[in-house]
């Protein structure tokens, strides 16, 4: 319940020690509080709510990368190669969820687009972003007979699921674009630039990682304005009906496409940035040979 990082007990003991006047000790304590906040790169004492979500991927990265971790966790298979390389140059990894009030979902004839906006203003100016990945969860498309047991797929959100798929094994294409600006006409598409693309097999449930480093590093450094991303999913085209509906839902780009609301906090899209603030040379990821 302390208002700052200094524990109340310590604060009270120092104030009551009688070494200085109450004003002096208050000043010293406030200075020390600023020193602590600065040490952690914080502006004020964090006071997270109970609803605060810690993505499982970040917990995995902690076990895998931290200098004090046991490195027992292997690299999550869904971790992009570029992200692993980036972590070897970073001493900070940040995660962001998109602003749901600013998303724009559209789905038409085998093509679903979703616009995301991630608020990156909390990244300190002195941090240089070396890489960024946009992670999207893809639940496997099942046939009409078996519904996804989201608990199973959710619990192993970064490993392929063992559910049997009875679908035709369709290939989806997922494109990730940087949005440059608003559409020219009210019903038009925004101006975009392709950042990453991938053909995916829909018989596996897994996280897909896309390299969005060029856009995020420009946004964070102020080189370009942050208009967000657009994710475009091309589904194998089927003749409408329930099958088409199911095909267009399995890439979890919006809460509305995810049945189980309890697992949405861990299945929603996640932007992860890798950066270095110039303090010290210890990085988060050292490969075994180097260690």
């Amino acid at each position: 319940g302390a208002a700052g990082l200094i524990p109340e007990v310590g604060r009270r003991k120092y104030s009551e020690s009688g070494k200085q006047s109450p004003e002096q000790s208050e000043n010293f304590l406030n200075e020390f509080e600023l020193r602590l906040l600065n040490m952690f790169g914080l502006k004020r004492r964090p006071n997270p709510s109970r609803q605060a979500v810690v993505p499982q991927y970040m917990v995995d990265l902690y076990h895998m990368h931290s200098v004090n971790g046991d490195h027992s966790t292997k690299r999550p298979r869904s971790m992009g190669r570029h992200a692993e390389r980036a972590a070897s140059k970073a001493n900070t990894i940040r995660s962001f969820h998109h602003e749901e009030s600013m998303e724009a979902l559209a789905s038409l004839k085998g093509r679903t687009t979703q616009q995301f906006f991630f608020n990156l203003t909390s990244i300190p100016g002195e941090e240089l972003i070396t890489s960024a990945e946009l992670r999207v969860y893809r639940d496997q498309v099942l046939g009409a007979t078996a519904a996804p047991t989201s608990n199973t797929s959710y619990n192993r959100s970064n490993s392929s699921s063992t559910k049997t798929s009875t679908s035709a094994g369709g290939i989806h294409r997922i494109n990730v674009y940087e949005v440059f600006g608003a559409p020219a006409s009210p019903r038009g598409e925004p101006l975009t630039r392709l950042l990453d693309t991938r053909l995916v097999q829909d018989s596996l449930s897994r996280w897909e990682s896309f390299d969005v480093s060029p856009a995020v590093s420009q946004w964070a450094s102020g080189g370009r304005h942050n208009h967000g991303f657009m994710v475009e999913v091309f589904h194998p085209y089927t003749q409408g009906g329930e099958e088409a509906q199911r095909q267009s839902r399995h890439i979890r780009v919006s809460r509305s496409l995810h049945e189980d609301q309890d697992s949405w906090p861990q299945a929603r899209p996640l932007l992860v940035t890798y950066s270095h603030d110039g303090r010290g040379n210890a990085v988060l990821h050292r490969d075994k040979r180097q260690a």
Binding site: M58, N91, I93
Partner: protein
Amino acid sequence: AGHRKQRRKHQHKANCRRHELDVDFSEVGWNEWIVAPPGYHAFYCHGVCPFPLADHLNSTNHAIVQTLVNSVNSNIPRACCVPTELSPISLLYLDEYEKVILKNYQDMVVEGCGCR
């Protein structure tokens, strides 16, 4: 001889060295925003830098000279027992915007002590 041996043993025990210090984040109230680890082994340095300074006390030339002067003039303080090597730790935590961050913090663990 036994007495001398006992005194020498005690003296050795009081010399500058690294001591255990386990920081428990819940004790300082940081466990509300630090997700992992729950705490860590920080260690600290404590003890006497005696005259004559033994090699293993990892001292600088200046500390050797200061200790020498102290041995003939007690107004000059002895050298201090301080950390000589520190290492980082990684923290997974929620910041003031409830964003989750994994970050390295420098100089959080004492790896070695010495007289300086």
